[in-house]
Amino acid sequence: MIAPDAKPRLPRGVRLTHNTAHGGWVLLAPERLFKADTIAAEILKRCTGELTFAAIVDDLAKTFTAPRERISADAANLLNGLIEKKLLEL
């Protein structure tokens, strides 16, 4: 789980970018890259270190008119995977 007041951020060396030739959003990281689907990209765009996890989930729930619990679970799942790979900090 991720604490509601934690402020997730992409550290130096991890960048979200849009690449037309490869048809979408890509998370660039040390010697690897990950294709990000629309939902993942929307979550990662908000990981600037300024918003709390709770605020990110609220914003996504509002923007996409989706159940808050489900968004919270999906976002935590994505972010925890990145934390383990050292690609996200809290």
């Binding site: 130096r12 030739a21 010697e31 890259l33």
Partner: protein, 363 residues
């Protein structure tokens, strides 16, 4: 060479390996540079690299690996890095740490560098300097790695593994953790160029490799969440070949110091290939039309047993350079594959190990 791209959809490349120079103060006997090294007088200038990076970004390339030789010997390294970043590329510096001062590292940080990979030769200082053929190299790696971390840049330690250090993989991971690296690459030597020349002195035994692979799982479990451990496994003892560079002319390009564009860093070892140069062609033209890139694209050129193998779109018949080096035919199935009619050559080679002095890589 006949173009083989007819039945195969050409995708955009992802990565570009920029070999800024072949000059290097170290003499590692497994260096991946070719035996015939290119001299300083033939190196591309700053403006040409800048153009190459812009063309690469237009082509779809996302990551550039600034490598060598030792990229730190280029006096324009900071400017080159800034131009790659300005082109929108993710910039990765691959260095031995010898030749890059802490001041240059600060300037690289300001130029927007994204990631630094520092190679280590061993966890033990004496052995490390012996393998590098350079006294004092080990100490300099510590100094640069700590500056990288202080600046907040992500650090990867690249540990090249062979017979002289394969028993110290655990210690090398400990060293990487002590240096505050986020990631370590355990890279077993691949036998091309200088490494092939030194193969008998470098190659570990089968037992050592099996033990190292088992140990990797333990290390990943023990250090989970602390450091990411990636591994490049040795292919001589594998059952199937590696999908070299993710398939010939499929994902990446390699630009040599003098501007020749290769599908992989060892491609010049295959005779008869026509490489184009960024001095005469745009990178886009080279990617789509250079004879060398089209020589082994797709799988149509592959003979049996690959032609009817269900793995042919997975490993593309393995490595063309290795097929040529061992069988004399670059179209052959990589003899590392246990299904190759030439697999006996690999078995024969691995039976011959000899402790003799290294033939150091020198210009």
């Amino acid at each position: 060479m006949t173009a083989m791209a007819d039945t195969w959809a050409l995708a955009a490349p992802i990565g570009l390996l920029a070999e800024l120079t072949h000059r290097c103060p170290l003499g590692c006997p497994y260096c991946s540079n070719p035996l015939a090294l290119e001299g300083r007088e033939d190196e591309l200038d700053t403006a040409t690299w800048k153009r190459v990076f812009n063309e690469a970004a237009q082509l779809g390339v996302m990551q550039v690996h600034l490598s060598g030789g030792e990229p730190g010997v280029r006096r324009d390294l900071v400017e080159i890095t800034a131009s790659a970043r300005a082109a929108g590329l993710y910039t990765n510096l691959i260095t031995s740490a010898v030749g890059i001062t802490t001041r240059t590292m600060r300037e690289l940080w300001e130029a927007g560098l994204d990631h630094v990979q520092v190679s280590i030769q061993d966890s033990d200082a004496v052995s490390s300097d012996h393998i590098a053929g350079y006294r004092g190299a080990f100490q300099r790696k510590h100094a640069l790695a700590s500056e990288v971390v202080r600046l907040g840049l992500p650090l990867t330690i690249n540990a090249v593994v062979h017979r002289a250090n394969i028993t110290r993989i655990g210690e090398m991971v400990d060293l990487a953790i002590a240096l505050k690296a986020k990631r370590i690459e355990i890279a077993h030597v691949q036998y091309y160029g200088w490494a092939l020349k030194n193969r008998a002195a470098l190659m570990p035994t089968r037992d050592q490799v099996d033990h190292a692979i088992a140990q990797l799982e333990d290390l990943r479990r023990v250090h989970r969440g602390r450091i990411v451990i990636d591994a490049v496994l040795p292919d001589y003892y594998a059952r199937f070949p590696k999908p070299c560079v993710g398939g010939w002319g499929r994902r990446s390009l390699n630009v040599t110091p003098s501007g020749r564009v290769l599908p992989c860093h060892a491609a010049e070892s295959i005779p008869g290939l026509e490489f184009w140069n960024v001095r005469n062609h745009s990178l886009g033209e080279i990617w789509t039309s250079s004879p060398a890139f089209n020589a082994f694209r797709g799988t149509a050129f592959l003979p049996e047993p690959c032609a009817s193998c269900e793995r042919r779109e997975t490993d593309f018949g393995g490595c063309r350079c290795q097929a040529f080096a061992l069988t004399g035919d670059a179209r052959a199935t990589d003899p590392v594959c246990h299904l190759s009619p030439h697999h006996g050559l690999v078995v024969e080679l691995t039976a011959f190990l000899e402790d003799k002095p290294y033939s150091y890589r020198r210009m």
